[in-house]
Subunit: 212 residues, 2 copies
DNA sequence: GTTGATTTTATACCGAGTGTAAACATACTC
DNA sequence: GAGTATGTTTACACTCGGTATAAAATCAAC
């Protein structure tokens, strides 16, 4: 993502947006499987090949805006202050998920269940999610390894990275589930905080007390 | 998997084996992508439809004998004795991976790198691996939840299950990597044990000392 | 053997994704 | 501003994974 200068660049990013939004709309209305790439192309006024030019697979049409997670993740490792451990930095990051609650509830308001419930029903999208998580894990592991001064393929670092990503993902899904319940925002936030702290306390104190 | 009684059943399991072995041989010789399902069918003397009858996807042709992992996994939770924690039970399980060393080195002896290096190069097989791991995680989480007396979707249990599976996988890949080095078996086993214990000690003592 | 249930096959089909070469649009040069 | 180089889109044909369907082959049972 660099500065969009010339006309050519402008048109390109514009085309990309048009395709992504057209696809999102069609998926939302008819479901992922019922929409062919060909139909997305037609609706976007573009050829099928062009769609695949911008999005290497059909699944990538869905996960267009997902890179944001990475920056926050890496920041939690690199931009924390001296006496904060990586674990506690992640606790803070995960706790902050509840800021998204109102957005989540808005998305779910129109019955379309917004996003993930469409994903959850689809095997290939599920696979893509796992792939993305694996990617994030690798990148986090690289950052952790740099931090710890260990080689990038140190198994310990990989496990820790996987655990942190896993915690983040688990609590995000949890938040979505809580958000779907007919309860007050305050209750959801409280419950989310409680679960998050349970997890991070357990990880802090070690797994020899599991199950407690 | 039930008792093979009549002629019909016998032929069925026989056909399945023929297909799986034919596919394995072709994949080993030409790579996963270069072999079409059609060609597997022809080489096995069967129609394409029949292949898909036994194996729902092409990837499943590769991961035919992978269910064994689950039983060991669940046994580590349910069949441990009183004073052994789940964590230590898993440590034992992972340490036992090194028993497979000679088999791994045999597989790698003929330059074909046996199995996983074929998998590692292929995105769709990678995805399938992640899917299988996610499945195992879910099932382990269910067992852990029963153990801990918590609901099956307890985020803490999910995170712990993910961590344990992650540790197992990381150390398995590590063992494969170590096995590929031109060093003595004893050294590989020692290194594998060292890394395993580093991970499980860290998980036992908690992540607040990470990076140490 | 005849009947009935399974399994396999041939065949036709759909949709994702790729290769290629031509048409088109933008950028650059004089 | 015409002409050329460069990048992008398009049409088209193709491969391959996977499904649907109905007929043919195989096995079980009487």
């Amino acid at each position: 993502m660099q500065a969009v200068t010339g006309l050519r660049e402008r048109k390109k990013s514009q085309t990309r947006v048009v395709i992504a939004e057209t696809a999102a709309e069609l998926f939302r209305r008819h479901g992922f499987d019922a929409v062919t790439v060909e139909s997305v192309a037609q609706a976007a006024g573009v050829s099928k090949k062009t769609v695949f030019n911008y999005f290497p697979t059909k699944e990538d049409l869905v996960f267009d805006r997902t890179e944001d997670r990475l920056s926050g993740l890496l920041a939690a490792v690199t931009e924390r202050d001296e006496q904060t451990t990586v674990l506690e930095s992640f606790r803070t990051l995960v706790l902050a998920q509840s800021n998204q609650l109102s957005r989540l509830r808005d998305e779910m308001a129109d019955g379309s269940d917004g996003f993930l419930d469409l994903v959850r029903r689809n095997p290939s999208l599920q696979r893509r999610i796992h792939e993305i998580n694996a990617d994030l894990t690798r990148q986090l592991a690289a950052a952790l390894a740099a931090e710890a001064g260990t080689p990038a393929d140190d198994p310990l670092v990989l496990v820790v990275a996987g655990t942190l990503i896993g915690a983040q993902r688990a609590m995000y899904l949890r938040l979505r589930e809580l958000a779907a319940r007919p309860t007050s925002d305050a209750w959801v936030v409280r419950q989310h905080r409680r679960d998050t702290n349970r997890i991070f306390d357990q990880l802090r104190d070690g797994l020899s007390t599991f199950p407690s």
